[in-house]
């Protein structure tokens, strides 16, 4: 690795503090679960901008607020435990601080201050003015932890502001502290932990004169001792082979030096905290302890997990489902009719294209929104409350067997909502290998788009037994997922399994605001990515299935379907079912729409009857199996390419699923035929 830590092009995108008079860039840093997002919202309510960090898929949030004549531009840095370049998040946070040298608000959890101050110890090495925000003071109070902010302030040499961000307490004080630091930045650089270790000194002398701005030799020396891969690569290129060799040998001889460095940092932290914090001799049994007795219990915990996940699904389909049908039946039909009337002057083909292609396609997206909103809200509640970490804990053993670890549970579960955000959510998995495997397995999680197809076609074919059939199909998918996981982790993407290290945060009740925000943002991400694609694709499908005409039987799509029909026959599927499956490539939700077009039924009600008459149950079941396993949709493929940075992995996934789906469909149909069922 020899890439430069801060590419110039990337750095110029960061907005400079001195752009406008009275406008100052302030960075917000903190470890995960210290309530950073709540503080960010508290400071900048209403004036926010969400984007991505340049060249990265990590979300970047910025907002503005005023203190007197001062306009603050607050940049919310990704939540990180430290500033070692172990992940994109940490790299972004430290590159930003290194480049911009902004005043940094470091947020700490008042109930776990030592750990939170570790990040402060790291930030202090970057030579920037700092404000320390102590969040969750109420939780600390409850636990009998007594904190004297003034004592801490004197020890650290920076303003310390107590906060209860969820209740909005401390906002004015925090803004005032930021203003003080902005007015006199030189005065508020935090004291640094002095780490007098011989090896550090030697290393620094070897580096001196070779380290370009904005880096500091001492900081680089520390990071080398920590095994920071990015800086190891950078240092090698700064020093050249001659200068690098002694450094390399020194590092090899002091493998354990980092433990010393970390120890020295905590000694410093303990000195800082010592006089300012009084803890009860014996920690009280907190709500978290009580809940964890059940939530992490090997038996009750798993039972609870099944109930909780079941509730999320139940809520998704009992609240979201009817809304979806209502939108489909009343709202969209009405819009279609209105538009059709308004286009009375236009030729028939344009009216059909608009109503069936464009509005039909947009409808596919819009009707999915209620289901996605409810699902993502449920996910946000689980995440914000701290329960998701317990779920990952419980499932780690199981996930281990398929080559993953507990954290992969989160993206895979998001996959039930939509595979696109699931691929993005795989970022919680730190190692490249674990992330890759998670991404490759994601398309095997049936998304709402597929579940809708199963619910619809299943109801037609199996009547009252439909929920049972759906459950069986989902279970079958998960079995295939596990099998693919085992095969891939053993033979395809080999390598060491990632360390499972995860903080179990304290439980707290999620706020309506943060849940609504997460649900809205995830849903919007889906609509934005998939929306335009689905509309475009449904127009294309509509055209392909109506031309040259005069009816769908004589269309381009029919020709394609007939050409592939021999393959379909293995699975008992006629050309219409084959074409419907292919249209799912664009978006899984398309399948029902295509069936509607091909079986010549415009309203959903008509399609029920047409399908029941034309498709024998064995073929129907095979069709559903294929739906569940078929290649990822275009949006998912694009997301996979984005996240892995290469076309190779989406292609591997597509090829794999093509084979799996063909095999699954064929086995299902042939087995049903052998047994003489439903032919």
């Amino acid at each position: 690795m020899s890439r430069e830590p801060v590419p110039a092009a990337e750095a110029t995108v960061f907005r400079r503090g001195g752009d406008a008079p009275g406008r100052v860039v302030v960075a917000l840093a903190g470890q995960p679960n210290v309530g950073k997002t709540t503080v960010f919202n508290l400071l900048t309510s209403g004036a926010q901008h969400v984007g991505n960090w340049p060249g990265k898929t990590v979300q970047r949030e910025e907002g503005t607020c005023r203190v007197g004549a001062l306009r603050l531009h607050v940049v919310d840095l990704p939540g990180t435990y430290s500033l070692t370049a172990a992940s994109d998040e940490e790299r972004i946070a430290r590159d930003f601080i290194l480049r911009e040298r902004p005043p940094v608000v470091v947020l700490a959890d008042a109930t776990g201050m030592e750990r939170s101050l570790y990040l402060l110890a790291e930030v202090s090495l970057l030579d920037v003015p700092v404000v320390l925000g102590l969040n969750m003071m109420d939780a600390a109070d409850e636990q009998g932890i007594r904190i004297e902010p003034h004592v801490l302030e004197a020890a650290l040499g920076v303003p310390v502001v107590p906060l209860v961000a969820v209740r909005g307490e401390g906002r004015e004080e925090l803004l005032a502290a930021i203003a003080r630091v902005v007015a006199d930045p030189a005065r508020f650089h935090p004291r640094r932990p002095t780490i007098a270790r011989e090896v550090l000194g030697t290393l620094r002398r070897l580096l001196e004169g070779h380290v370009p701005a904005p880096y500091d030799p001492e900081w680089v020396a520390l990071k080398l001792l920590e095994g920071d891969e990015e800086l190891l690569g950078a240092a090698r290129s700064w020093l050249g082979p001659g200068g690098w060799d002694p450094v390399r040998r020194l590092l090899l001889a002091h493998e354990d030096a980092f433990l010393d460095v970390a120890g020295a940092r905590y000694e410093w932290i303990e000195r800082m905290v010592g006089a300012a914090v009084v803890r009860p001799r014996l920690g009280p049994v907190t709500i978290t302890d009580r809940l964890d007795r059940i939530a992490t219990h090997p038996m009750w915990g798993r039972l609870l997990l099944v109930v909780v996940l079941g509730l999320v699904f139940a809520a998704t389909f009992t609240v979201g489902g009817p809304l979806q049908r209502w939108l489909d039946r009343s709202a969209l039909t009405a819009v279609g009719a209105t538009v059709d009337d308004a286009l009375g002057w236009a030729p028939q083909w344009l009216r059909d294209l608009t109503v069936e292609g464009v509005i039909g396609g947009a409808g596919r997206v819009i009707t999915l929104i209620p289901v996605l909103v409810v699902f993502f809200a449920g996910m946000a509640v689980l995440e914000d409350s701290g329960y998701l970490a317990r779920a990952a804990f419980l499932l780690d053993g199981l996930m281990h067997r398929i080559g993953l670890h507990g954290k992969s549970f989160f993206p895979l579960f998001v996959g039930f909502g939509c595979n696109v955000p699931a691929v993005l959510a795989s970022r919680v998995v730190e190692s490249t290998r674990g992330r890759l495997l998670t991404i490759l397995l994601t398309p095997l999680v049936p998304c709402t788009g597929r579940l809708v197809v199963v619910a619809f076609v299943g109801a037609v074919l199996f009547g009252d037994a439909a929920p049972l059939a759906a459950l069986g199909l989902v279970a079958a998918n998960l079995v295939v997922l596990a099998a693919v996981g085992v095969v891939f982790s053993r033979w395809v993407i080999r390598g060491e399994q990632e360390a499972f290290i995860m903080v179990l945060p304290l439980y707290h009740s999620p706020t309506l605001r943060s849940v609504a925000r997460a649900a809205a943002m995830n849903t919007w991400a889906f609509v934005r990515r998939a929306g335009t694609l689905i509309v475009a694709a449904s127009v294309v499908v509509w055209v392909l299935s109506n031309y040259p005409g005069p009816d769908p039987e004589h269309s381009v799509l029919a020709t394609i379907g007939r050409a592939v029909e021999p393959l379909g026959q293995l699975m008992g599927m006629d050309w219409r079912l084959v074409v419907a499956t292919l249209s799912g490539f664009v978006a899984k939700e398309n399948v029902v729409a295509t069936l509607g077009i091909l079986y010549g039924a415009k309203a959903s009600a008509g399609l029920d009857a047409a399908l029941a008459a034309a498709v024998p149950p064995a073929s129907g079941l095979a069709f559903l199996v294929v739906q569940m396993l078929f290649i990822p949709c275009v949006s998912t493929i694009v997301a996979m390419r984005q996240e892995t940075g290469r076309w190779r992995w989406p292609l591997v996934s597509t090829g794999l699923l093509l084979v799996v789906a063909l095999a699954g469909g064929t086995v299902t149909y042939q087995a049903a035929r052998l047994l003489g069922v439903g032919v």
Binding site: Y81, S82, T84, A86, T111, G112, M113, E114, R115, Y118, L119, L225, E226, G227, E229, E255, F258, L259, A262, G263, R265, Y266, E270, R279, G283, T288, D289, D292, R293, T296, H297, P298, A389, A392, F393, L394, D396, G397, H400, H405, G406, Q497, A499, F500, I501, M502, V503, L504, P505
Partner: protein
């Protein structure tokens, strides 16, 4: 937060035992003695509050799957393999406390 150095006061050498974390039952308290498993592993643990000499309490050890420990007021879940790389000097063995499995 009380801290016990490895080479600090010991009552008698016979009562001191260094064991990997995954062999300890819930309720056991000890001081981190060594971290095997390389720089990055150690630096990730350090960022969560686990450094040499720090007092840790095992909160849950289900005998299979990961375990939960408390260090500096933070609950940390560790995979079984990772827990095996954390060597702990046991200071107080509360056998039967909490729940084991």
């Amino acid at each position: 937060m009380p801290r016990r150095r490895i080479h600090g006061k010991r009552d008698s050498p016979a009562t001191v035992s260094v064991m990997p974390l995954n062999d300890l039952t819930a309720g056991t308290i000890g001081a981190v003695h060594r971290l095997l498993g390389g720089r990055l592993f150690a630096s990730r643990l350090a960022a969560l509050g686990v450094s040499i000499g720090v007092e840790v309490t095992v909160l849950r050890n289900n005998r299979s799957g990961p375990l939960v420990m408390m260090a500096r007021g933070t609950r940390i879940a560790l995979g079984r393999g990772e827990a095996g790389k954390v060597l702990v000097e046991v200071t107080s063995d509360v056998a039967g406390a909490g729940s084991g499995g």
